[in-house]
Amino acid sequence: MCALALLAWMIVRSAAPRDSAEVHESTDSRALQAALVAWTLAPEPTSVHVTAAFAPAARERQWLRALARAGVRVSWSRDSLPATAIEVAERTDPAGGVRAYIAAPAGTRATLSDAVGLIDTIAITPGANALSLPVTAGALDLLVRGQHARAAAPDSILPRQVVVLGRAGWEGKFIMAALEERGWKVSSRLRVGPNVFVTQGTPIALDTAHTGAVIALDSSAAQYASAITTFERSGGGVVLAGDAPLAAPLRALAPGRTGTRVAAASLAFASANPRRALGFFPIVASAGDAVPLESRDGRVVAAARRAGAGRVVQLGYDETWRWRLAGTGDAPAAHRDYWSAVVSAAAYRATKPASNAGPAGDAAPLASLYADLGAPGTPPAAALSITPGLRWWMFALLALLLLAEWGSRRLRGAR
């Protein structure tokens, strides 16, 4: 009988690992790591299930993947794990800094921190949540309902000068003023008479070592078309403003043809969309690779395209200075931001590796979890779970039953 009991125990013991399942509530990284260690050491379970209160780190996800590759059925489910993501991109702006794009469930509150400490608390709205951060230290950490997402600091941009070419006029003057006030270094060569130019800085250095972008104010810039084209093909940015693409040599670069000028309907600058009060040259017959950037009443005002290694932005406006002077609110600041953004969109990006990028982390933890472990599943049925404790209880029950059977047989003749 003892031999029978021993045999039964050995059967249970040998069969247990192959039929066992583990369900783990991952409350913190250390507990999950401990469970992973236990699952990995013999006897390993046939299936494990992680109920994630937080998204496991990359190391733990890889460990779970390794278990799956070793034949263990790995599944996971989540309770209230928020879908979060953070993306950080450098700004092509003389002020430097980064732009952080944040995704999280709408209505939640997120905190954004860097190596120094808390930067901001953000109420997440539906759609894009983007922040411009002039100064950051190391990686950015996004925290939403206890879930961290982390993105390393990007390389920083080395801004180059902006060269302004065209006729002397208020548009050129106020574009230069706006860019300089935003910190751009501006060189210019403005025509005031036949072979008479007013020059500022070193506008002839049309190469990406010195210049990030060229602004052609009007068709008179066509005389530099060859240099502008070479510059653009080598990675430089070009902004073709007003009627500049009317000049044949610049037309080949432009995202579209320049249509007949639409006069300003009025000079009343509404605060909601102040550029509606400006006259413009519509962009017609766009090139196949052109991307419209701004439209008015179905007509494209701004478009961009890549040609060679550089980028070209075509802007139909030729009197944005009126917005700066006569616009409502802080129109000069809006005008500065607009022109800085236009130049940034086109400008050549020379980068310097981030000196303190910070430790790498999961920029989108939940998405990484899906990528590594697939879609969430249900935990294994409880009846199939044979834990070590249950195993001993079963053995005890079996031994008790054997004892009862033995006793029954012994006492059968006693009556």
Partner: protein, 204 residues
């Protein structure tokens, strides 16, 4: 082609803002004569208190009499200057002891800041024609009228590295106050400095 430059004369409630009516056509003629800057054939008069001020980024102001801006004139002018406009003020009295100079500089100081001497090496003096000795003298200075001084410098209030207010005690308003056709009787065109002021305003 869209006209890009319109000469604007400032009208203010006090004083004699219209004391030099021949200056605008003379300067317009000079701009058209020496440059290819598209220029509106006739100048405009714009009230300092009017929002229309913000349509003309270069403004000319002169007079003989005391200048006292109203609150709305001062507010509008400050807005104009802070947004990047440039004001050229010329003392038609050519007299630093005169009422125009004393009141106009006081009003400018109250509005945007105190005018300071402009170095004679400033880019204004090489914006188009070269004036290596600084601002050109006027016949009124040389003939001893007004304050009997030859003013070595113009004055300026700077904003963001640019001239916001250019102040002259040299009486260019008298010097340039003649019909444009009379230029042919002069051996040297004395309005050339006006080209520098306009070109500087348009390019700096």
């Amino acid at each position: 082609m869209t006209p890009t430059f319109t000469f604007a004369t400032a009208q203010y409630e006090s004083g004699d803002w219209d004391s030099a009516p021949l200056v605008p056509p003379n300067i317009i003629d000079t701009i058209a004569r020496y440059t290819e800057i598209p220029v509106t054939p006739a100048g405009v008069i714009v009230s300092l208190a009017s929002p229309d001020l913000l349509r003309y980024p270069l403004l000319y102001l002169t007079g003989h009499l005391p200048v006292r801006f109203t609150d709305s004139e001062r507010r509008q002018l400050r807005e104009f200057l802070e947004r990047g406009g440039m004001l050229f003020v010329d003392d038609h009295n050519h007299d630093v002891d005169g009422v125009f100079h004393k009141t106009a500089t006081e009003e400018i100081t109250r509005t945007i800041g105190e005018p300071k001497p402009l170095p004679n090496t400033h880019p204004l003096y090489s914006a188009f024609f070269k004036f290596t000795d600084g601002p050109p003298t006027t016949s009124h200075e040389l003939n001893g009228w007004g304050d009997n001084l030859v003013h070595k410098n113009l004055f300026a209030v700077m904003r963001e590295g640019r001239i916001a207010v250019l102040y002259s005690s040299k009486d260019y308003s008298s010097e340039w106050g003649y019909h444009p056709d009379s230029k042919r009787f002069q051996s040297v065109d004395n309005t050339k400095f006006a080209v520098n002021i306009v070109v500087y305003a348009l390019t700096a």
